[in-house]
Assembly symmetry: C2
Homo-oligomer: 388 residues x 2
């Protein structure tokens, strides 16, 4: 179970025929609770898809009853016609559920610059609506319907103080965050209004989803949505709510990293001794974006020179530190000490799936991390052999 684990939700995933392989490609989630709260974090890309524009407008309304999502087509760069398609989706769900069009969120992921096949999408919505259920096959197919190059569905379910949280996520292009569309849908039966939900979601997403490789560049379709039904009858404190959403988000974010396209290693870049959290994250992000660091890790090569060179590319105004004081550890071995050769690089065991790069800037007490992956042949293959 995932999004229907919290009380008050039904969901269904079906194959509308958008994906040529016959896999599920359309997901519908409905909130049957007395409360119809929702919050969202959407892409900061200036080129954003029609459903993102629509979600911004709908979320501003404060009440969300349902969410429809599809894979195979991003409905991005499709102009006024694309936005009309999104609204038609919301309109049909509203008609079927007897709610307002503005209470239906829409999310899409897939190829940019192609129109959505509405002749498949609209009948598909009717089928999915007829199949709405709690748990079982419908719940499972919901998590699968948003997959693109993902090799497996990502789901999470957690209970905090009697309140349930469920979530699904997709996204498998973590190596190149510019287009790694991340769709995340979280449900909860907490009693909470939309404003409180937003206040809890923003910081939770900031230290989980936004720490997967990069938050500076997002895809045209990145969407993180939380919906609350109130069906538990329980109100959590703001801290408890934030903590719970952080746990669910962290769980899903970690699963996204683990399924990154073609990756052999999940890489945690932890920066300590920074003058600020922003400085720490900026350094970690610079390292996470170095193709030479990523390819070295793919080759199980503990190449700390490439790491230090990436660290040195961060402007002093962003992260003040003295390069001659920087220590770098790879899987626990301090191979660079004081900006120079440290312990023998042969001591580093690069065989584990998870690789830890620890960078101590010796310039303060703040810290921050970024999760990334190695850059492999399989990544190139997945992203060059097929349009996606």
């Amino acid at each position: 179970m995932s999004v229907t684990y919290p009380r008050g939700f039904r969901a269904c995933g079906i194959s509308a025929g958008l994906r040529h392989n016959g896999n599920p490609d359309l997901a519908l989630i409905v909130n049957d609770g007395l409360i119809q709260s929702a919050a969202g974090v959407l892409t900061s890309n200036r080129v954003f898809a029609a459903p993102v524009a629509w979600c911004r407008e709908a979320l501003a309304g404060g009440a969300v009853h349902a969410l429809v999502a599809n894979s195979a087509c991003a409905n991005a760069c499709t102009g006024p016609e694309g936005l009309a398609d999104t609204k038609a989706e919301a309109g049909l769900v509203a008609e079927l559920e007897g709610c307002q069009q503005g209470e239906v969120l829409v999310a899409s992921t897939g190829i940019i610059g192609q129109r959505l096949e509405m002749d498949k999408m609209l009948p598909g919505i009717r089928v999915a609506h007829a199949g709405l259920a709690v748990g079982g096959v419908a719940d499972d197919a919901t998590s699968r319907a948003i997959m693109t190059t993902d090799t497996r569905p990502k789901t999470s379910e957690k209970e905090f103080h009697g309140v349930r949280f469920g979530g699904i996520a997709k996204g498998a292009g973590m190596l190149a965050p510019q287009l790694a569309t991340m769709l995340v849908f979280i449900t909860t039966d907490a009693v909470v209004d939309s404003e409180q939900l937003q206040e809890a979601l923003a910081p939770a997403a900031d230290i989980t989803f936004s720490r997967v490789d990069s938050d500076a560049c997002m895809s045209t379709n990145d969407t993180v949505i939380v919906m609350a039904s109130g069906a538990s009858g329980i109100t959590l404190s703001p801290e408890q709510l934030r903590e719970a959403l952080t746990a669910v988000s962290g769980d899903l974010a970690r699963q996204l990293v683990a399924d990154a396209e073609g990756a052999h290693h999940d890489v945690l870049i932890q920066v300590t001794g920074a003058s600020s959290t922003d400085a720490a994250v900026a350094v970690a992000r610079e390292v996470s974006r170095s193709n030479l660091v990523k390819t070295a890790i793919a080759g199980d090569d503990p190449n700390w020179g490439r790491i230090l060179s990436a660290v040195g590319c961060v402007p002093e105004s962003v992260a003040p530190f003295d390069p001659d004081l920087v220590n770098v550890s790879l899987n626990g071995v301090t191979i660079c000490r004081g900006g120079m050769i440290g312990e023998d690089r042969e001591l580093v065991d690069m065989t584990p799936r998870e690789v830890h790069i620890d960078i101590d800037l010796a310039a303060g007490d703040a810290s921050g991390h970024i999760w990334t992956n190695d850059l492999t042949h399989e990544y190139v293959e997945e992203n060059s052999a097929y349009t996606s």
Copy 2:
């Protein structure tokens, strides 16, 4: 002929045994002219190699008599001992040439975080010194001695108004500019002082070498040096000098792109209609850094959605434009018009080695370009299978 094409220069490349394959790895260039002018552009990376630190100091002195360079080892992240090694190189050349230690520049390229093998380097300098000559094998080996993963030497020779210019360059990791050490040595027999030379070199490098992928991130060792002997007896105007250096630099920069590691396509990203040159270059650079754009091109896929998504990641404060007005052409076909689907992508011929991405922001009259490459299996192979 390359660096000894201008009158007043001798050079020699030899194998000192630093490279395990026996190829040339040590280059020495000597200025025999009455004028000993020099100018340089060095890496802006905060982690910079010992020879870079030394060049900064030596260039400040105003007079440069000789330059010694090696491949196989970057002498970066090697601390005070590494700087002592660099000084020892300069000292030996000074002793052999009867000049000051501060008149000898040093450049290194290769693996970071390893000490230079001085027991090979110092005897090698003596051998190279004995072989100094004009043209012939010595000149040819000079261009080869600075190669690392380069598949061929890059040389240029040009004459402007009776003044000769010669140059050599190395650098083959253009796909990941953070570590694509670029060594460029240009000679000229113009009559010019060091200050005028610097004033001509800086803008020339800015629109040539700095437009190869990215100038925001440089390697620990990037070094562009110009030396003038005055042996032609001719003084060029500042405009002529800048024009000549831009031509030689552009020629060498284009050769660097053409030999980028594992590349199948050379990609020229030209941004027009920008509010400023900086804005245009920022947009071009963002596109050049997108692994998804690079892999799509490697797969001959005219995926304009990935291009537009990268364009949208540039903050409005950096490049103001309306995404709904942006046009994108790929090899002359306007596949994206007004931020939406334009001409049929099937019309794009992706077979030529050179791929042109033209982005019109419709926000002004300024333009700018970046040269980059596609991201291929061979790139991953070169950078994962071997330490470099």
